[in-house]
Amino acid sequence: MTAPGGARDQILARIRAATGPEGSANGRVGPAEKVDEVYATLPRDYLSAHHDPASCDIADLFAERAADYRAVVERVSPAGLAAALARILAERRGRAARPLPFVIPDGLPAEWLAAVPAAVQLTSDTPPLSAAELDMMAGVVTGCAVAIAETGTIILEHGPGSLGQGRRALTLVPDFHLAVVLAAQVAADLPDGLARLNPARPHTLISGPSATSDIELIRVEGVHGPRELHVLLVTAETGAAP
């Protein structure tokens, strides 16, 4: 922190001069508690969800919207998850010129990996892989914290202790990301979804594979993040949450 009279104090003084006096028609309030009170009463007339979960299959909506971004979305039943996951990893390994391991973050449910054939190598991130090592991985498998149906977004919550989502670098460096989303994790829209997160942890919101529109505004997939995103959406047979 800078000494009194330094940049911080000068900036704050200029702000107070610019916004004062308190109680003015321009909304400057004054004491901290009063500011919070006023903030709490700011009108919010927007919708809490654009599709009502009561009348709309939001898992369906999520699948549709995620696929809109060129993510590959597959729906599986809880019983079929392990087989689907194994099939996808085996396929990718089969297509690769050189067989490379997939990174598995701590806390990913072991039963999800139960059907993965021995030929597909899985590596843990404990101890943490270096950036160069991550660059040599075939891909990463994670769960998620929340998915947003309206925007087709998967949200990962990171940091030690986060289950099955790993640190941020895991879903950034490898070229392939397989994300498992459980139906119960799907929120209809941003208000509900964001409220489920712990702000103290880092988050990554993922809506499709990486892309750019910088060249003549033509959207090109696959720049720096994983160029392929595959989503396994787990819903019960009847469509209800498992």
């Binding site: 702000i15 001069a17 909304g27 997160l197």
Partner: protein, 489 residues
């Protein structure tokens, strides 16, 4: 305490944009550039349509806009409260907070932090604030190499150019020009590189990958800074942002003081407004949110540099302040008939287009030829106001700033324009003088008119007749006709 703090000097400005020409001259050159015109027309028309479709999906778009405006206005009116809360929470989460009064201040702080990290090269995410303060040039002067990692910023950097659009800074370049730049400036550009956008993006990926994986220091801006939690938010598409804020040991984020939002909950509004307004998507590919440092995940050291650089001047202007609501979506650029024909360079600022015309003269003051001309770089058509996700009334702010420019000049010089407006003001306020002027115009006008048209007028009205005919004043004005046929009232 920096030397600047000790001496109490505060010079808001944009060091790399000094001496830019006034808009009319710069624009005249730009409208003649057929490649630029074609690129701009194609790009802005495309994204206009997409944005309209993305916004039309949300039945409550106007309510979201209203909430965005209200939250921002409340925050700005109580900005010190929220900045202090932000600082407290960033520090509690293990980050460091620095306050920079102006560009010089900010650049010195960043350079010091980079040197302290023991490196002479950094990777950087696109950040308007760092463009504004001329960070790359300032670091280069200190022997620190900056690698821009946004594809468009990379193109601009390799092309020794300036960005021309807030969101797609290389919009003035087409694929062939980009290919040429890569072949010329990228030592590792692949043989036989084509101008297919996919190939160009792949070349950029390869070029940057090693830098990402080995960088010790990353520099970013932030789209939002949440006071309640101390969290920063970076909204992007390519993944280079994630690379820069996650992999290096040290992260430095340079953020304008107006970027703060009160609470985590406010993201539900702004993450709904921003992607649809900017890239016309329901959501952009990647958004990173982090708070301070998290052991075992990401940088070990995090520094937030809060920048004023003229924002407090904008804050003090009750009408101009609304410009600080801006969330840098660029929707206004894409609907502006002026921007579509001139591109961004003509505005002489990292912030071009409608928002640039109101924010640049507030951050920098109206003294320079460029800044004095920017509020006039608009037809006041209002298309920008219609699409702004935080409802900035840009035409109102433009007209307000025009008065500021005129008032700033009042004391200094008696210009021909001021004389003309003073005299015409007297005439137009008086029905008697107006009628007399009409009789005079009628007479002289009909001497030079042909078929009711005047083809050439003397300066300054030659600016009209250079490209348009002017109407010849009629034999009789309306009021003269009324008086003659209906009797005077």
């Amino acid at each position: 305490m920096t030397a600047q703090e000790a001496s109490g000097t505060y010079h808001p400005g944009m060091p790399t944009y000094l001496g830019m020409p006034a808009f009319p001259a710069a624009a005249a050159a730009a409208v003649a550039d057929s490649q630029l015109r074609a690129n701009l027309a194609h790009a802005t028309r495309t994204i206009r349509a997409k944005r309209a479709a993305a916004v039309a999906e949300l039945a409550d778009w106007e309510e979201l806009r209203a909430a965005g405006k209200t939250i921002k206005d409340h925050t700005l009116a109580n900005l010190d409260h929220y900045l202090l809360r932000l600082e407290e929470n960033v520090i509690a989460a293990g980050g460091h907070v620095h306050w920079a009064q102006d560009a010089t201040d900010a650049n010195a702080i960043v350079a010091g932090l980079v040197r302290a990290a023991g490196t002479d090269r950094v990777v950087k995410v696109k950040s308007m604030a760092t463009q504004e303060i001329g960070l790359n040039e300032a670091l280069a002067a200190e022997g620190i190499a900056v690698l821009e990692t946004d594809l468009a910023e990379l193109i601009v950097q390799l092309g020794h150019d300036l960005p021309s659009h807030i969101l797609v800074p290389a919009i003035h370049k087409n694929r062939a020009e980009i290919r040429e730049i890569f072949l010329r400036e990228m030592p590792d550009a692949p043989e036989g590189l084509t101008d297919d956008p996919r190939a160009l993006a792949a070349a950029a990926r390869a070029h940057l990958r090693q830098a990402f994986l080995s960088a010790k220091v990353g520099i970013s801006g932030a789209n939002f800074a949440i006071a309640e939690t101390g969290s920063l938010v970076v909204v992007e598409s390519e993944g280079n942002g994630r690379m820069c804020v996650t992999l290096p040991e040290t992260l430095i984020s340079v953020v304008g003081i107006e970027k703060v939002l009160p609470s985590w909950r406010d993201l539900e509004v702004f993450l709904a407004l921003l992607p649809r307004s900017s890239t016309a998507e329901r959501m952009n590919p990647y958004t990173s949110i982090w708070t301070g440092v998290m052991p075992g995940d990401g940088p070990e050291e995090f520094h937030l540099v809060l920048v004023d650089n003229g924002r407090t001047a904008a804050l003090a202007d009750r009408t101009g302040r609304q410009a600080l609501r801006c969330i840098r979506c660029s929707a206004c650029l894409n609907v502006c008939p002026v921007y579509e024909r001139t591109g961004g360079h003509a505005y002489g600022s990292p912030y071009p287009g409608p928002i640039g015309a109101i924010i640049s003269p507030q951050l920098r003051g109206v003294g320079s030829p460029a800044d004095a001309s920017l509020p006039f770089a608009s037809t006041l058509c209002g298309a920008c106001y219609q699409v702004c996700p935080v409802a900035i009334n840009i035409p109102e702010a433009l007209v307000h700033l025009r008065a500021k420019v005129v008032d700033a000049k009042r004391e200094k010089i008696i210009s021909p324009e001021r004389t003309m407006f003073h005299v015409s003001g007297r005439v137009l306020a008086s029905p008697r003088l107006l009628a007399a002027a009409q009789r005079g115009a009628s007479l002289s006008g009909r001497l030079v008119a042909r078929s009711g048209r005047i083809r050439r007028l003397p300066r300054p009205l030659s600016a009209w007749t250079d490209t348009r005919d002017a109407p010849a004043p009629p034999r009789e004005s309306f009021r003269a006709w009324w008086a003659r046929t209906r009797g005077t009232r």
